[in-house]
Amino acid sequence: MFTGFFITLFCIVVLGWFFGGSAEKKHMRRLAKAFAESGGLLTEIRSFPGGAVPANGAEMVVSEVVIANDYLKSFLAGLRNIIGGEVRSYRNLMMRARQEAILRLLNQAREKDLDSVCNIRLEFCKIGLGFCVLASGTAYKRQESITS
């Protein structure tokens, strides 16, 4: 019975440490690359920076992401709760979720032949063990000459 317990514990630690950690790094690299490559302008102001709207058309884009931490990190976050301070694993997790949601907005805009998103809004909720981010925005086409 004890061996079973230790095997489970070992699996959780290994899964969290190796697979969870590498998946996180991979995701962050992918996000950084995608944002660096995209020439789109992302803003959360209601006007359309650099775009003449009626001529180009604008469309609402909505995306959602549900993301969860691995078991090891959740456990370590629980320990952090005892001594207090910043919980970095959750900070990264939340930022990843938001970046991913924003990236999906941009991808949707591209599918519609638009290149920028304004009036981005982000909502947060919890679904089971996961964290959910809902992003919405208005996609439009930017005129390069107006704004840098």
Binding site: N81, G84, E86, V87, R91, M94, M95, R98, F124
Partner: protein
Amino acid sequence: MYVVNTEMIPGMRIVAVKGLVQGNTVRAKNVGRDIAAGFKNLVGGELKGYTELLTEARRQAVERMLSQAEELGANAVVNVRFSTSAVTQGAAELYAYGTAVVAESEA
């Protein structure tokens, strides 16, 4: 650095829009504060420990947002918004986001 939660800055003209900037932090109070807050709950009133937690978190989130804006070469952040979320028991996230711009005095 000008930080406002309106889209325009009075007396300034926005000459370039640099894009979305954001900062966040997830902070937890130590278990002693959690217990103290539990006692305070018996009589009600302000939970000072948690107010402090949020103030700290807000300052940190805004700092991170501003440093992103600086990196983009902006001198102002407009339309700043805050959002909070209870990530786990006893830990709160504070998220600040805005649009980094370059603004010039109109005069």
